[in-house]
Symmetry: C2
Subunit: 502 residues, 2 copies
């Protein structure tokens, strides 16, 4: 194929892929936010059809030839075009493994499993979710086995999907360091009296929380003309392009901090999507890099910035405006301690910064065994409860607050969880670099997050998938991953908060 023709075909393919991705994403977002419960069937019809088109657009000899022609002419094409072909080639190779019928059936299974999981979670009924979960596990084991060609462990293949280059060989010591470094501190803190403002001693009416969400989105720098907030069981972010990003939250009347930190977290993802360069939009390079890097941004805002002492000044001002009664007499110090209370808890998304990585580690251990075939789906509730007892000292009262709490498995995202811990660690290393370049805490204390977002924009956001993950990370972190920077940050912050000597 002539290069000129290949470039035309590439543009056509990107347009097709964009349109299909856009439509599928909106169907998904709408399905989770606004669609009636029984809508899943019709949506399945539509998603099945769209996924068949996606498959047909990618898996055909012409697409293969197009991508290979471009990859063979590296010196004659721009960095952007080369990278487009590279990223698309990875998808092309992945999709080739599975026959179209199976791919379409899988898309429809995901749509169904989402509905089944919601119902199962509401009823705390793992048994009703198990058959669908078994199908999903079988699909991913089979898919990853084919993809790994026997050269790679099946779970390593899945890890690599979300975090390029991630493997059990690297993650085992990563989580060991986290466990060894943090467990003594967690045990010490457990002996101390609880600190700071207690959100759960007040009622937080949902309508007031909705108005509050608008204000804190503005504080985070999210422009409502490009980013809107919906309400779902499980908060998420979906970005169509930099002018259309959706985040969601979930309101709990008994604790406004849950939704507040969901908004800050998803808002971090959104800022990433909103910051990708204009000329990468509508291509396969738009949107974020790996999931770990994506989580580094969400957790950067959720923890490093909006749970910092400096941020308590602007945050308290907004809280007082929206919740005058609930915050009467509240000081910045009490707020700072209250938003950083550490305590072993049942729900990952509500966990404090210190115990959070143990939630991730538990899931990592379970997935390793599940995907290796050492653990049956039916055994999941038991092992889940065992590990929460072992690492967090908690009894899980029901599966709703246990093995059914996360939407990842119902979404087929096996291997995703470690991204949260990796992202947290990446974020701290980026913060250390940022502190060299600008007065982070001076700006944050004034409620001005623009310099923070500009720095991340320049180092991370703008590139989308243009740079390879390792290059992007190295550049933003100023060196390789070192979990001790992350655990060092947590130890310093939490020993000071609870007056623990280490």
């Amino acid at each position: 194929m002539e290069l000129k023709l290949a470039l035309e075909k590439l543009n056509q393919l990107e347009k097709t892929n964009y349109a299909l991705r856009h439509a599928s994403s909106v169907l998904y977002v709408d399905g989770s936010t606004a669609a009636p419960k029984n809508s899943w069937r019709g949506r399945g019809e539509a998603l099945g059809y769209l996924s068949a088109l996606s498959y047909e657009a990618m898996v055909n000899p012409e697409t293969g030839e197009t991508l290979e022609t471009i990859l063979a002419n590296r010196d004659q094409v721009s960095e952007k075009v080369y990278r487009q072909a590279e990223v698309l080639k990875e998808d092309y190779d992945d999709m080739h493994i599975i026959p179209m019928e199976e791919y379409v059936a899988y898309t429809q299974l995901l749509n169904e499993s989402d509905a089944v999981w919601h119902e199962a979670k509401n009823n705390s009924d793992f048994a009703s979710f198990a058959p669908v979960l078994e199908k999903l596990v079988a699909y991913h084991r089979r898919f990853a086995t084919l993809k790994g060609k026997g050269e790679k462990a099946v779970y390593d293949v899945l890890l690599d999907t979300y975090e390029k280059g991630a493997s059990m060989a690297a993650l085992d010591p990563f989580f060991r360091t986290i466990r060894e470094e943090l467990t003594p501190l967690i045990l010490e803190i457990a002996k101390k009296p609880q600190i700071g403002f207690d959100f759960q001693r007040h009622r937080w009416p949902v309508d007031q929380q909705r108005a509050f969400s608008e204000k804190i989105m503005a504080l985070e720098g999210l422009d409502p003309a490009n980013c809107t907030l919906g309400e779902t069981e499980h908060p998420f972010t979906d970005g169509m392009n930099k002018w259309d990003v959706r985040i969601t939250t979930h309101y709990h009347e008994e604790d406004a901090s849950y939704s507040m930190y969901s908004v800050f977290h998803e808002g971090g993802h959104a800022l990433y999507e909103l910051g990708v360069a204009d000329d990468l939009q509508f291509t396969s390079l738009a949107g974020g890099s790996t999931m770990g890097i994506h989580e580094s941004q969400s957790r950067f805002y959720e923890n490093l910035i909006t749970r910092s002492r400096a941020f308590c000044a602007p945050l308290l001002k907004v809280m007082k405006a929206c919740f005058p009664e609930q915050t009467e007499g509240l000081t910045e110090d009490a707020l700072y301690a209250g938003i950083n209370r550490s305590q072993p808890s049942l729900i990952r998304t509500e966990a404090d910064e210190l115990t959070y990585p143990l939630h991730v580690m538990i899931r990592y251990e379970i997935e390793k065994a599940l995907i290796a075939g050492d653990l049956k789906v039916g055994e999941l509730p038991g092992i889940w409860n065992d590990l929460y007892r072992k690492y967090l000292g908690l009894e899980v009262p029901d599966d709703r607050r246990g093995v059914l709490q996360d939407s990842h498995w119902s979404g087929g995202m096996f291997g995703y969880f470690p991204s949260y811990a990796l992202g947290s660690a990446y974020g701290v290393q980026m913060l250390r670099q940022m502190e060299k370049d600008l007065d982070v805490w001076g700006a944050v204390a004034k409620g001005d997050l623009a310099p923070v977002t500009a720095w991340l924009g320049q180092k991370v956001h703008q590139y989308g998938k243009l740079k390879k993950p390792q290059e992007l990370l190295q550049n933003a972190m100023g060196g390789p991953l070192d979990p001790k920077v992350y655990t060092g940050y947590l130890k310093e912050k939490y020993s000071a908060l609870y007056g623990v000597k280490l």
Copy 2:
């Protein structure tokens, strides 16, 4: 083509059409309810692509042969299959007229014009909407000219799109009857003091209205598992299938009756979509028949049922539960008079039942001239204001409350408006039949609309597009359209309300 093959192809075509229609509808609903303002561009990319696929699926020799094969074998296929082919053939013929590029460009123009119109309406700036409107008018004039082949007036072609068989020859006398019968009564009422409860003397907080909407949807018989409510500038209904119908409303703090009657109106459309037989779902026969018949159902609930004296008992109960302060001391009689206040007003969707058809007549007269080419787009605000002065005695203060108020033209729906008046007239004739079969007002007074919906379901809803409009209407109305039944109903109701002798 063998009939057996044609039947397979028909099923395939229906599946494809359904998926594309579903995706486009969700993109549209989401775009109007939840998507950020700047999302229109990405949505345009997706909608353009989907419309090209729709076009390709319909406009090709194979589809033509498929449909003709089935139509030529009427005695060998079911009524349903024959009618599917018949309905699809009409679309097929329409789509053939326009080249694909133009069809896709038109779809994208609609997406753009929706955004432009919203902005123009907010700013009361007709000039910014005019260029897009000119393109839309030109497109439809050209399209209808080609479709009419010189044998039919251009506006008649457009009318026929929404109401099979409608024509200026039939509508001119229809509107003349309405004008002649109702104008004397409207003038008499204008001399009388205003009656009943004044919604505008209270404040109706939006959060309370949202909770109220849930209750009145339940009262109307809308199951939230199949039908959800969104919020938009201009209320509408979109039905994907009978398990996924969306209605929208708009809340005004100063008048809860606006949203209340939007919900009842759109809820009537929704009940129609929700009542189509299971075996027509996911085919071109699902959804309602003509727009006039669709409006007959929405206006049936909005006016004949929920503005009836009998309905005031259950309605007042729900209002008192949701708005205890605002409704203190309110009686059923005062509510009945309040929800039926008649007064010439600027906004069609807020107009009372009596003056409403004059709003429609004004639009009909304007569209006739516009589509005939006797009126330029730039002259629209002037003629609009002239006709509101002439027929309703009102000065239009700005285009936001004048020519920019409706979303129909920005949606390319020229020829739609008469459906509202026709639907109102159909509805009264259906009610007269229903009264023979069941104790309508006994049930309504108890807040039990199930028998009403069951009757309409049996006579109208279940058939979707299976029966031809004229047959459906004849059957439900017990005879041909007679505008004097409609004007007779209005004269009786309103002369009693205002104590006017005719």
